[in-house]
């Protein structure tokens, strides 16, 4: 019997596309834990604090003698303050969630059973990362009303809010993949958490090393193409994102700055035109995440790694 568009067998394959079982399980387990509810409460509290502090700062700024007394012109700064607060919290939470995901399964002695099922190591890793990203999205959605204030009062467009959520997802994927890689490497969750923050440090600061070396050792006046390494830096990506959202310009094209046309290399300058740098950087960060996930999957595959180690 044949359907107009698909055979019944093809329909069967389509219907089999279901939610990754690890995602479903993790969300069920998380949603029922009190820790998650308290986490949401703490997250909201931090955001409200950041909002109130920013408002107080804006108020004092508008009251100063240098001000044009127009408070509304400063309200746009609510966005970077709240966004940076969210980004910092996400950057802190995701590695903690994912760094204990594989090692936690090992500690709980559930990992072996998981490996004997038909799930491939990569599906396990993907499932863990997606569940971490979805948990973060709970937080982001919960923080939406506070974020919306900065858009309503600050006069930013709603599409900016949408792009902001996308960047948060991207950061979560990167943090999650670093966390899961460290989790696959370490037997204990606490070691995995510490190691993932060490990796964070390496990615954030190591990408600046070529630029620093070029400026210091070769006594070059131009940063040149050493800036291209910063495509992998989430911090620079967010800087660029905020610049694009708030001024519509790229961080690397600003006249008079360290990243001006005269300072940066030919390729960097042309990439900084429009939104090219931002999108390319997003692609690079995503690629880096995929690499970490692939390495984690390789590490947990019993047919590839750790096979020579004896179980104690």
């Amino acid at each position: 019997m044949k359907n107009k568009f698909f055979t019944w067998q093809e329909w069967g394959i389509i219907m089999r596309i279901h939610l990754n079982p690890i995602v479903k399980k993790d969300l069920q387990v998380t949603a029922r834990s009190m820790r998650f509810s308290w986490g949401l409460f703490a997250y909201e509290a931090v955001l409200v604090m950041a909002f109130l502090l920013a408002m107080a700062a804006i108020q004092s700024q508008s009251d100063s003698i240098y001000s044009d007394n127009n408070i509304y012109s400063y309200l746009i700064y609510l966005f970077p303050v709240l966004a940076v607060s969210q980004v910092c919290i996400v950057a802190l939470i995701v590695p903690i969630i994912t760094a204990s995901s594989i090692s936690g399964e090992r500690e709980r002695q559930t990992f072996d059973i998981m490996l004997t099922t038909c799930m491939s190591p990569f599906s396990i890793v993907i499932g863990k990362v997606i569940s971490a990203v979805l948990r973060i999205l709970f937080f982001v959605v919960a923080g939406m009303p506070i974020m919306a204030l900065s858009f309503v009062a600050g006069g930013l467009s709603w599409s900016s809010l949408f792009y902001f959520v996308l960047t948060i997802i991207l950061l979560s994927v990167l943090s999650g993949s670093i966390g899961i890689f460290c989790s696959a490497l370490c037997r204990r969750s606490i070691t995995a958490v510490i190691l993932s923050f060490a990796f964070y440090f390496v990615i954030y600061f190591l990408t600046f090393v070529p630029l620093i070396l070029k400026m210091l050792w070769s006594k070059a006046e131009r940063a040149g193409e050493s800036l291209l390494f910063l495509l992998f830096n989430p911090f620079v990506f967010f800087e660029e994102f905020f610049m694009q959202i708030m001024t519509g310009e790229s961080l690397f094209g600003m006249e008079g700055s360290f990243f001006s046309k005269q300072q940066v290399g030919f390729l960097t300058y042309h990439l900084s035109q429009g939104k090219a740098w931002m999108f390319l950087s997003a692609a690079c960060i995503f690629m880096l995440s995929v690499l970490f996930m692939a390495a984690a999957a390789w590490k947990i595959n019993p047919m590839h790694s750790s096979a020579g180690k004896m179980r104690k």
């Binding site: 219907m15 089999r16 279901h18 939610l19 079982p21 479903k24 399980k25 069920q28 387990v29 029922r32 834990s33 709980r108 002695q109 559930t110 072996d112 059973i113 998981m114 490996l115 004997t116 099922t117 038909c118 799930m119 491939s120 595959n301 019993p302 047919m303 590839h304 096979a307 020579g308 180690k309 004896m310």
Partner: protein
């Protein structure tokens, strides 16, 4: 059903499994016996795709799939020696999760998990959180979970460890049930009396090597150490010992004040003839009885020999 050929696992210079060759026929309840560190768990982990072998092959049924492949995993249900459960997850959800991990449809999982929970006597615990179940219940749930995708081979590594006597009996009955349904089961255990009651065949491992494998009765027959005869004697003890030592297939195991213990693998007629010969030689007997060979004595005999 399970064909292990020349399987070897080295950890550096230490050999955990040494050229193991084993065949478990379809429908068998096979007991894997051996002291700690014999290589049983290592072998099981290799078969289940949790460990990479240094050499050798593993085959299940007619499939030529590699160990650790999806095809192979579909054929095996594995119950590990120690396993944990998730907090905040109900029994129904636990089954649902593992069913999904085998790519099963939700409606099939629901139907099969109901049947399996009934089989392991956990139907009334469907809506209970898994972490609130007792150790025995968790073990039975793990068996139900391992059967969810209808594997051809069920492998249990020390399923009775940490269970109270009642839970052990329940587990034994469950395995007997599964065997009667035609499942091929491989079970490793230290509780030899339990294995001897339910297993159709055994494999004894020591020091990474398979010492012997086959049906329990056949192994005992081959070794001759299984059948012991206790002969109570009133007089002519020395003559009796001398006569017994002269007989073929008879080994004098111990001589006490008025009892001689011998082992032989003869038939009932041969034993009868042996007793007759003693009487003809004027040995006065008050009685004799045959001690049925136990798996424990066989195990001690075999592993002791290897250690020597």
């Amino acid at each position: 059903m399970l064909y292990i050929n020349n399987l070897t696992k080295n950890y550096g210079s230490f050999t955990a499994v040494n050229h193991l060759t084993l065949h478990v026929p379809e429908g068998d309840l096979f007991g894997f016996v051996g002291p700690n560190g014999a290589g049983k768990t290592t072998t099981i982990r290799i078969v289940c795709g949790l460990l990479r072998a240094s050499g050798g092959t593993v085959k299940i049924g007619n499939t030529s799939a590699a160990v650790g492949s999806k095809e192979m995993k579909r054929l095996i249900g594995y119950v590990p020696d120690f396993f944990g459960v998730y907090d905040n997850l109900k029994v129904r959800e636990y089954m649902d999760m593992y069913g999904s991990m085998y790519g099963m449809y939700a409606r099939d999982i629901a139907k099969l998990s109901d049947d399996l929970l009934e089989l392991v006597n956990l139907t009334d615990k469907r809506e209970f959180y898994v972490d609130t179940l007792s150790r025995g219940m968790k073990q039975r749930l793990c068996v139900a979970r391992a059967l969810l995708h209808n594997p051809k081979l069920l492998i249990l590594d020390e399923p009775s460890s940490g269970l109270d006597p009642r839970a052990r009996v329940e587990m034994k009955e469950l395995l007997k049930n599964l065997h009667s349904m035609g499942k091929t089961i491989v079970i490793s255990s230290h509780i030899l009396s339990e294995l001897s009651e339910m297993c159709t065949s055994i494999g004894i491992m020591n020091g990474g090597q398979l010492i012997t494998a086959g049906r329990i009765e056949d192994i005992m027959q081959q070794l001759g150490g299984g059948k012991r005869l206790h002969i109570q004697i009133v007089s002519e003890m020395e003559a009796a010992v001398r006569l017994l030592k002269e007989q073929a297939n008879v080994r004098v195991e111990s001589v006490r004040e008025n009892e001689i213990v011998i082992s032989n693998n003869g038939t009932d007629e041969e034993i009868s003839a042996l007793i007759g010969r003693l009487i003809q030689n004027e040995v006065v007997l008050t009685g004799f009885y045959r001690e049925e060979g136990s798996l424990e004595s066989l195990f001690m005999q075999l592993t002791g020999k290897t250690e020597d």
